[in-house]
């Protein structure tokens, strides 16, 4: 480790001690050890560390992960709702890390951040997509169905999640389309007539949700910590909202990370409906498949714009605009109207 990196680590350790001191007033002899950076996401930088302290004479320890807001990335979402949702879902059976502490304004650790309990497992999703990982992947997919069913049947009102923007079965799709279209209009770097047309299509074909549930918003291989065939934690809740649960199911089956080779979507949906009691209507299914292609398109264009504007220097997202062509072709291929789909 370079001297500069060691100094930065030492400063951050002290900042974390101060954060714990502020949020656990009875804590004494606080120590932060084994601080090390983890893989950086596009919107959050992750650090692993161990904390120990003494509280009312009892020794306490916690294996922790701090997620600290990165410079501008693909999406800019507030941390507090994400942290509160993670906290509220504790004890519901949804595999989730325990929420520990939050620094919403970056008062202690320079940028907004929160700390979760560190959970064992790997998030290596490419390994699940390789032929040699098929058996493990099948097991993880089976557990993923259970996790989806559990998440979508949580009584979110009883859990105090009424602070999430309200929606209804009739407005769930409209609100999401409106949100993503507003990002598109704010971040597009050219008119993108095809996207304008796609948003019009989404506005003209909105389905009614069977019910309003918590929607993870980024529910997929890649946002799981798994060990063997079991999922230990569902990660990355920054796009969580209330809405149509079908949005999560179809996001999990986008081409980039789909488990379709080990569990076709039809089987996933059938198992899900059996476990959750939530029917999945064909129109909702195709609608959210189309919607998600647009959603990922806008996420990518937002990232490219952030880099172009110099609000982030993360080269990993610099060329994301080039990835959207295939998403848009997928959108056209899935359109239900043959006259639009087959056009060439």
């Amino acid at each position: 480790m370079s001297t500069a990196a060691a100094n930065a680590g030492s400063i951050l350790s002290e900042q974390l001690r101060e954060l714990i001191r502020a949020q656990v007033p009875a804590a004494q002899n606080i120590e932060v050890t084994n601080l090390s950076p983890l893989t950086a996401g596009n919107t959050r930088n992750a650090w692993s560390f161990d904390a120990s302290w003494n509280e009312h004479g009892i020794a306490q320890t916690a294996a922790c992960v701090m997620l600290r807001k990165a410079e501008a990335g693909q999406l800019e979402t507030p941390l507090i709702p994400e942290f509160e949702v993670i906290k509220a879902l504790g004890g519901t059976g949804v595999p989730i890390p325990r929420a520990l502490w939050i620094d919403p304004e970056g008062q202690w650790v320079e940028r907004p951040a929160f700390v979760l309990e560190r959970v064992a497992g790997t998030s290596d999703f490419p390994a699940l997509l390789k032929p040699e990982g098929a058996e493990t992947s099948r097991g993880v997919a089976e557990h993923l169905v259970e996790v989806a069913a559990r998440l979508h049947t949580v009584d979110w009102q009883a859990r105090g999640l009424g602070f999430l923007p309200a929606t209804s079965v009739k407005t769930a799709a409209a609100q999401q389309v409106e949100y993503w279209e507003s990002l598109f209009r704010r971040h597009r770097m050219e008119p993108h007539p095809m996207l304008v047309g796609a948003f019009i299509w989404l506005k003209e074909h909105q389905p009614v949700a069977d019910r309003v549930t918590i929607v993870h918003g980024d529910f997929r291989y890649g946002n799981l910590l798994y060990e063997g065939k079991r999922i230990n934690a569902l990660l990355d809740w920054e796009m969580v909202h209330l809405g149509d649960p079908v949005e999560d199911l179809t996001w999990a089956y986008r081409a980039l990370w789909t488990p379709a080779s080990v569990m076709p979507l039809e089987e996933f949906v059938e198992r899900y409906s059996k476990l959750s009691g939530i029917p999945v209507h064909p129109h909702n299914l195709i609608y959210y498949r189309l919607f998600n292609e647009m959603k990922h398109t806008i996420i990518s264009l937002t990232g490219a714009k952030s880099f172009n504007d110099g609000r982030t220097r993360n080269i990993v997202i610099a060329d994301r605009a080039a990835t959207v062509t295939s998403y848009l072709i997928q959108f056209l291929d899935w359109l239900p109207e043959p006259r639009l789909r087959a056009a060439s």
């Binding site: 950076p37 304008v196 610099a318 990835t323 072709i329 639009l340």
Partner: protein, 169 residues
């Protein structure tokens, strides 16, 4: 000077970075940044020389499509006396007139790109007008949309050559 071309030069740089520099960098954030940069350089190397022809073909295709849907919009503007469609039509006429002006013997990618943006703008506005003006009969809307979606597919197919070019052997 023709050789090395920009494409060849960038391709060589990407290869050198991948073979000589990357192995020296330990796993971590810096390595991921360098890997991403190499990927971008390699893509740009493959498409550098194709950008102007791509934009030229795109502009031609959009202009021809606009010419095909122009009579339908003219009919809507006159028969239904629709001011929104009339405004879009005026812009369409101006843009087509502008796009038929000669660009000179060797238009740059920048000039072609600026024209592409103008044409894209008209396409976006036509769709917005037809969506917002509910009085326009659905058969008219469907006819225009069929033309436009066919264009979008052709545009995306062309765009793939630029955004995800086949790798050189």
């Amino acid at each position: 000077m023709i050789r090395p071309t920009i494409g060849e030069l960038l391709s060589g740089v990407a290869t050198s970075l991948r073979e000589r520099v990357l192995p020296e960098i330990p796993a971590g954030t810096t390595r991921r940044q360098i890997q991403a940069a190499i990927g971008i350089i390699a893509r740009v190397a493959l498409v550098w020389d194709k950008t102007a022809p791509y934009l030229y073909a795109d502009n031609m295709d959009i202009a021809e499509t606009l010419e095909r849907i122009q009579p339908t919009l003219e009919r809507v503007a006159v028969e239904e006396d629709n001011p929104r469609v009339r405004a879009v039509l005026t812009k369409l006429h101006q843009t087509l007139e502008h796009s038929s002006e000669p660009l000179g013997p060797c238009p740059s990618a920048e000039v072609l790109g600026a024209r592409n943006l103008e044409l894209q703008e008209v396409l976006a506005e036509i769709q917005e007008a037809l969506h917002e003006e509910t009085a326009v009969e659905s058969a008219t809307r469907d006819g225009v949309n069929t033309e436009l979606y066919a264009l979008f597919r052709r545009m995306l197919t062309r765009e793939l050559e630029i955004t995800q070019p086949p790798r050189r052997r």
